[in-house]
């Protein structure tokens, strides 16, 4: 199932990032990288090999949309994990899957499956 899935975690808050990593590990995923800032995330999005990315929207006051654009260009699926609703997304990203914070482990699992088309 999700075992071995390579996931990029972009989250500026350490505790949440840690929990997210725990959850991912729990469902058998591999965390291939974590980024807390946009620049960092952009770099990873360009170069890191991955199957899917979980993106926080607000990274220390900056939005992570450019990261999503790169991933989309690379045909890498992603999902937003955010406290804002879908309404907060820009038009071009409106259809992207969103995981509303806070979320349960199985909600994360379902969201990942959905974005991977599993």
């Amino acid at each position: 199932m999700l075992a071995g899935t390579r996931v990029l975690v972009v989250e500026d808050e350490a505790l949440i990032s840690m929990m997210l990593e725990d959850y991912l590990l729990e469902i058998g995923c591999r965390v291939v990288g974590t980024a807390a800032r946009v620049e960092e995330a952009l770099e990873m999005a360009r170069v890191v090999s991955m199957d899917v990315a979980v993106l926080d929207v607000n990274l220390a006051g900056k939005v992570s949309y450019p990261v999503a654009e790169i991933l989309r260009a690379r045909n890498i699926p992603f999902l937003f994990a955010t406290g804002y609703g879908t309404a907060g997304l820009p038009v071009e990203l409106r259809g992207s899957p969103v995981l509303s914070k806070p979320f349960l482990l199985d909600q994360l699992e379902k969201a990942l499956r959905a974005s991977l088309g599993l």
Binding site: E13, L15, I16, M18, M19, D22, N58, T82, G83, Y84, G85, G88, S100, K101, P102, F103, L104, L105, Q107
Partner: protein, 769 residues
């Protein structure tokens, strides 16, 4: 008999001629001194005695006639004495004395007296002739045709005589005939006895009434003509006997039955002994006049009725005199508060006007009276301050009547002015009210801080107030008749406005909507507009009217508020996420079950926040709360969850309590109840009840799940449901674990405590802030 009478009249005429001849001879001699001129004088003296003798020997020498002859004899002797004296003086060489005697005019006066006496004598002949015709009916043996026939006979006799007698005599006869004819022939005259029996019926009367003389003579005239009298006949007769005459209007009926009115003159003739003899009646047809009079009366009546119906008073002012007194009818007087018998002149009339109206009224009156100004009627509307304290408005009109007078430049003189006046208070008050209302409306339109406008069906501005012009930045004439796409700089905004306008006019529905139109500074401004279709008299939409108020600031504030609420929610949820992360990390190795239960409670709290955030933390719908709460439990699965109930908007505390309660119920069901079994389902049904204490009732019913055993110990979940719901909703919550078919939870709360109302978002004043 008749011939004898005529002859008698001629003899009197011959006597007069003789005396005139004597005078003519005297005058000729005195003027010329030629004795041959005395021939007529001397021949007259010679004829005189014979003339007297003939006259006195004529038949029917009545006492009246004899006394007249005696009088003539005395007067003639005076005359002859005067003539003889003057001639003697002249012959004695005292021509001056003779002429002086003539100049005393005594002779002329004497001659006039003689003429009068002879006239009187001849009149007796005329009366006698009339009596003859009357008596003719009584004495048929005379074989004389009477009535008008008398006149014909007179004429015939006269003609016959004229052939045989002297020229002079004919002249005298014709003179008398003329008098006679004038008196009785051509006028519509009749003679009748005192008892009314007709004794003479003139040709004029025959023409007027249509009765021939033979039909009229001998009849009682008032029967024949069905006379209508203006007063009792006895009174008329008495007046006639007293005064010798009577005049008045009578109504008569002609032979053909038609009615006529006559102005009648009756004269009483007395006989020789002074006894009342005959009545001579002459009648003039005044039927046309009477009809005109009655027409006038009728039209006057009609006018009065019309004036009365319209409440108009009538006034008249005779300005050709010097007085200022006016004639007012009682309605006119009443309008101005005058007593019915009050004398009203121009001054006291205009005293009822407010002071400032008096000069204009006088000017208007002067214009109307000015003969040099044509067709300038008096027309004046003014207030009346009545003596009783009442105030009314009247409209007076008047037309001056002029008389042509070529001696003045205008060619006419003013005689009087006639007019009407009517109470127009009602109309005037309505006018004033309407003026007041339109003034008020104008003030509103010009002072209200909003755009007010009207557009035609093509969207062209028809009416615009000052704020509209300020927004567009152009004067009125550059705005009226133009549409938004012509005066707005931003074509997209203009098109959006016009699209709204078209929709409103097409659908004929009033709408309130937000519109964006840049201000003169080019910056976007937001307007809240209410636009209504404007309909013509036939009900068709002909345009729209609208009012727009700027809400740019409010809009901005609202947007900021929304942003802040969103941000707050985001941060709350982030905090909840962080709490979740902490507990998750902390409890990771200890108790996965505990961690999950904590996770889902935090999640329910976050979901409730989401619901509230969508409505700016003012409210949340119950359906949204239920959906969000059940989302982690596959709440979208319609086979598992039967959700039904009317729209209910909950206040924030109720949203949170309900979300937490439902979360606990669902968790419980997942662990022990319906949701732990694939076949189980949950029915969530709510309703509101009306009445004095309306309430909300929500029932959670589990079916087809595992059999539930009542927990030994009331866990946190159960306590949370009961306490939190009961407390935060001020209601009652009962969970029934005893039903073998599944758990039933019934939540009841007063509607007033749970539903959102305007102004629900209240921040408690804490710490005396």
């Amino acid at each position: 008999m008749i011939a004898g009478e005529v002859h008698t009249a001629e003899l009197a005429g011959a006597l007069l001629s003789t005396l005139k001849d004597a005078e003519t001879g005297q005058r000729g001699f005195l003027l010329t001194g030629d004795l041959s001129y005395l021939a007529p004088y001397e021949s007259a003296l010679a004829r005189l005695d014979r003339d007297y003798a003939r006259l006195e020997s004529a038949p029917l020498l009545t006492r009246e006639r004899q006394s007249l002859i005696d009088r003539i004899r005395v007067l003639a002797s005076f005359k002859l004495e005067e003539l003889g004296n003057t001639i003697a003086l002249y012959k004695a060489g005292q021509s001056a004395a003779a002429l002086a005697l003539v100049r005393t005019n005594q002779g002329k006066q004497t001659m006039d007296a003689i003429r009068t006496a002879i006239d009187a004598f001849q009149r007796t002949v005329a009366v006698r002739l009339a009596n003859i015709s009357n008596r003719g009916r009584n004495f048929i043996g005379w074989g004389v045709v009477v009535g008008v026939g008398v006149l014909a006979a007179v004429l015939l006799v006269l003609v016959a005589l004229s052939q045989n007698r002297a020229r002079r005599q004919i002249a005298v006869s014709l003179y008398r005939l003329e008098r006679f004819t004038r008196a009785f022939g051509l006028t519509q005259g009749m003679m009748r006895d005192l008892d009314g029996r007709i004794s003479f019926w003139s040709a004029g009367a025959a023409r007027l009434y249509g009765y021939r003389p033979d039909e009229a003579l001998g009849r009682i005239s008032h029967d024949l003509l069905q006379t209508g009298f203006p007063q009792p006949l006895a009174e008329i007769q008495a007046a006639l006997l007293r005064d010798g005459q009577w005049q008045g209007d009578l109504a008569h009926v002609r032979e053909d039955g038609s009615r006529l009115y006559v102005a009648s003159h009756w004269a009483l003739h007395r006989g020789d002994a002074g006894e009342a003899d005959v009545i001579i009646e002459s009648n003039n047809d005044i039927t046309g006049l009477k009809h005109a009079e009655s027409d006038l009366r009728e039209s006057e009546l009609k006018l009065r009725l019309a004036l009365g119906a319209s409440g108009q008073g009538v006034w008249q002012w005779d300005v050709s005199g010097n007085g200022t007194e006016m004639a007012w009818d009682s309605r006119g007087k009443a309008l101005f508060g005058f007593d019915d018998d009050a004398v009203v002149n121009y001054e006291c009339w205009t005293d009822t006007f407010p002071i400032e109206e008096r000069a204009p009224a006088w000017e208007a009156m002067q214009r109307a009276l000015d003969p040099a100004i044509a067709d300038d009627d008096y027309s004046f509307e003014h207030q009346v301050l009545r003596r009783d304290g009442g105030v009314i408005w009247v409209a007076a009109t008047g037309r001056a009547l002029f008389e042509s007078d070529m001696s003045v430049p205008a060619g006419r003189q003013v005689k009087r002015i006639l007019g009407t006046v009517r109470d127009v208070s009602k109309r005037k008050r309505a006018e004033l009210e309407s003026q007041h209302a339109s003034g008020l409306l104008r003030t509103i339109v010009e002072t209200v801080p909003a755009l007010i406008y009207a557009k035609d069906i093509k969207g062209r501005i028809q009416v615009a107030n000052a704020p509209v012009l300020q927004l567009i930045g152009k004067p009125l004439d550059k705005v009226v008749g133009f549409s938004d796409d012509e005066f707005q700089d931003d074509s997209e905004q203009a098109e959006a406005v016009m699209r709204n306008d078209r929709r409103i006019m097409e659908q004929g529905q009033t709408e309130t909507l937000e519109e964006t139109v840049n201000g003169p500074d080019g910056l976007a401004r937001t307007w809240i507009s209410t636009k209504a279709p404007m309909r013509g008299a036939d009900g068709d939409v002909v345009g729209l009217v609208g009012i727009s108020m700027e809400i740019t600031e409010q809009k901005r504030a609202q947007d900021r508020l929304r942003l802040m609420v969103n941000e707050l929610n985001h941060r709350v949820k982030n905090s909840l996420s962080t709490v979740q992360a902490i507990t998750s990390q902390t409890l990771r190795a200890i108790d996965p079950e505990l961690r999950r239960s904590l996770d889902s409670r935090l999640l329910a709290l976050a979901a409730a926040h989401d619901v509230l955030t969508r409505e700016n933390w003012e409210r949340g719908t119950l359906r949204a709360v239920v959906s969000e709460a059940l989302l982690p439990f596959d709440g979208w699965d319609a086979a598992r969850f039967w959700i039904s109930g009317p729209p209910v908007s909950l206040r924030p505390t109720a949203v949170l309590a309900m979300a937490m309660g439902l979360q606990e119920l669902a968790t419980n069901a997942l662990k022990y109840g319906a949701l732990s079994d694939a076949a189980g389902r949950v029915e969530i049904r709510w309703e509101t009840t009306a009445g004095d204490d309306p309430s909300l009732c929500l029932v959670w019913t589990e079916r087809n799940g595992q059999l539930v055993s009542k927990p030994d110990r009331r866990g946190f979940g159960t306590r949370l449901i009961e306490r939190m719901l009961a407390q935060d909703l001020c209601g009652v919550t009962r969970i029934d674990f005893g039903d073998p078919r599944g758990v039933v939870c019934r939540i009841e709360a007063p509607l007033a405590e749970v539903i959102a109302t305007a102004g629900t978002l209240s921040f408690p004043r804490v710490g005396g802030l």
